[in-house]
């Protein structure tokens, strides 16, 4: 991982983003909702509000720092939730095979066919926008690839000798799946998970952009959405939060690629 330059860049970006999310609000206690200056203050004019203010005189920089927390948290938690749903389904389908596999895979395919962003919109709208409904809907639309990946891995690991040995020694199915198979299927899942966090951040920002964000939390997508109508007067309100999204998603994608090269040397692409 540390050998690939893109992986290192990604890691640095992620570490910066995490420290901003964790420590930023402590060092920068200005509430992002409070009016601190005149509205539409251009960026780089006042040291106290380096990135200017929005239509209500709120500090863009403060918004971006507090928004980092929401974006990363939603990205991580929803990916975790998707793994909690997807891994068991994929593991059971791959391990038991036959009718169980058929049924679970049809179920997975069904969810994969539904247009994911449209379903996420519908779910958040119906459950009412909150951080919980956002995390839940992102998890609902993003678990199918996990299940399919884990199924494939389990399917190939199931026939290995050490698994057969565990069967012969009379271990229970759940013990074999949890102790023998899943640890060996972990590396591709980690790669997928890092890419899923990036997708989840994009999804969250898109939902917030459409006005489906948690009304009590500031997020990058919300900020871009709020600045949209005044883009002709104040470009900075939409530009800066967008760059924050771009950089974090880019960082996570780079980490995913770096991990992929490090963990699956077989699959790593040449020419880089």
């Amino acid at each position: 991982m540390l050998k690939s330059p893109s992986g290192v860049i990604g890691l640095v970006i992620l570490l910066v983003a995490i420290s901003v999310a964790v420590f930023g609000p402590m060092l920068f206690p200005n509430s992002p909702w409070r009016m601190v200056q005149r509205p539409f203050l251009p960026p780089f004019t006042l040291g106290a509000v380096p990135l200017g203010t929005d239509a209500l005189g709120r500090d863009i920089f403060a918004g971006m720092i507090f928004g980092a927390r929401v974006s990363l948290l939603v990205g991580l938690v929803s990916t975790l939730a998707a793994l909690i749903v997807g891994v068991p389904i994929g593991a059971m389908a791959g391990y038991f095979g036959g009718k169980v596999d058929d049924a679970l895979m049809r179920f997975t395919e069904f969810f994969q066919t539904i247009p994911s962003f449209a379903l996420a919109i519908v779910l958040v709208a119906i459950l009412q926008p909150s951080i919980y409904s956002i995390v839940a809907s992102i998890a609902v639309v993003s678990w199918p690839p996990v299940a399919r990946l884990v199924r494939g891995e389990v399917l190939s690991l199931r026939t290995r000798e050490y698994v057969q040995a565990a069967v012969v020694t009379g271990q229970s199915n759940s013990w074999i799946i949890l102790r023998e198979i899943l640890p060996n299927a972990l590396s591709p899942v980690i790669v997928l998970a890092s890419l899923m966090v990036a997708t989840a951040i994009l999804l969250e920002s898109s939902l917030s952009f459409l006005g489906l964000g948690d009304p009590n939390l500031i997020s990058w997508g919300y900020m871009v959405g709020a600045g949209r109508t005044v883009i002709r007067q104040a470009w900075w309100i939409t530009v800066f939060p967008g760059i924050a999204i771009l950089i974090s998603v880019l960082g996570l994608n780079l980490i995913g690629e770096g991990l992929n090269d490090a963990l699956n040397p077989r699959l790593s692409r040449e020419g880089r």
């Binding site: 247009p115 994911s116 449209a118 919109i121 519908v122 920002s205 898109s206 949209r228």
Partner: protein, 323 residues
């Protein structure tokens, strides 16, 4: 081939029915008693009217029967009534569908053409500056949220340079006809289609590049080279044709994302398609309309998947000989 098509169509229909059933339960999950909500939206809320509404829409019947009525309605293209817009949902969607198809298909064509082109270039010149440049650009476009690309496009091409219109489908009040009208629509289409296409272009570029490099190493390419075929023929006939298979699969998988992207793009550019309609329904909490659009989006994705399945069979050289 025919039985294959029939099988796929049947499968698609079953999935669509399942989505309709899911939709039914989602409507029931929506906050508020539907009859009271509808009465409120219609501007009257006395008991008699609510009772009439219940009877009219079968809301007084047991749940399984309601489900049956709902599914029957959808099958005959009755997606319910939008009280906010005072029109049947199917009619509203029907009016907006052509604009969405125009946008998504143009974006799809742009992304696929440019993606394959750039991916092929990057693979052909792997390791050179050109390859690095294409790869870096693809990575950046891949990480940009669509709504932000849209706004940056407006900022650059409408606000700063004043080249392209920033919203709408045609110039309002211009009353153009014929070729002038088509040109006007095309001018309005460029930015939304490019915005929507860029993200997918990035994906196809990456996929084509990776897949071409993978295929290049295979034995049949060596054989072709040993036969003395020219490099261009090998690239086109042997490498590209095989390398495109995963790209076609990806195009099918991404059709859902394309529709999702259309919701955002249409919202930003005020493009009068079903994505914009979904956003309006969202703002007004018009659940009948919202879920109607959702069903139609799903149907579109299913159709698109079916087409990519067929295309896959057409382009896969291995299947050609087996059939």
């Amino acid at each position: 081939m025919l039985s294959f098509v029939a099988q796929r169509v049947l499968k698609g229909v079953i999935v669509l029915l399942a989505i309709v059933v899911l939709n039914f339960f989602l409507i029931r999950l929506a906050p508020g008693d539907p009859a009271i909500v509808m009465a409120g939206e219609a501007g009257a809320s006395d008991q008699v009217f609510v009772k009439q509404l219940r009877e009219k829409f079968g809301l007084d019947k047991p749940l399984p029967e309601q489900l049956f009525i709902y599914v029957k309605g959808v099958v005959s293209l009755d997606l319910g009534f939008s009280f906010r817009q005072q029109a049947p949902v199917a009619k509203l969607i029907g009016e907006r569908l052509p604009a969405t198809l125009l946008l998504t298909l143009t974006a799809f064509a742009i992304s696929l053409t440019l993606g394959i082109l750039f991916g092929t270039f990057a693979a052909r010149f792997a390791g050179t500056f050109l390859d690095t440049a294409i790869t870096v650009f693809a990575l950046i476009f891949y990480a940009m949220p669509i709504f932000w690309v849209a706004l940056m496009g407006i900022l650059l091409f409408s606000v700063t340079m004043d080249w392209l219109p920033s919203f709408g489908y045609e110039t309002v009040g211009a009353n153009l006809t014929g070729l002038a009208h088509a040109f006007d629509v095309a001018k309005h289409l460029i930015m939304p289609a490019m915005t929507l296409g860029l993200f997918f272009m990035a994906t196809y570029t990456r996929m084509t590049r990776a897949s071409m490099l993978e295929v290049k190493r295979l034995d049949f390419v060596k054989t072709a080279r040993a036969k003395g075929l020219s490099d261009a023929v090998i690239q086109r006939r042997h490498v590209l044709r095989n390398a495109l298979l995963p790209v076609v699969t990806l195009a099918g998988v991404h059709s859902g994302t394309l529709i999702g992207g259309a919701v955002i793009t249409e919202t930003v550019f005020a493009w009068p398609g079903i994505g914009r309609l979904m956003y309006d329904a969202l703002l007004q909490r018009d659940y009948n309309l919202l879920l109607g659009v959702f069903v139609i989006c799903s149907a579109m994705v299913l159709t698109f998947n079916l087409i990519t399945d067929l295309v896959y069979r057409l382009v896969d050289p291995r299947i050609e000989y087996a059939a």
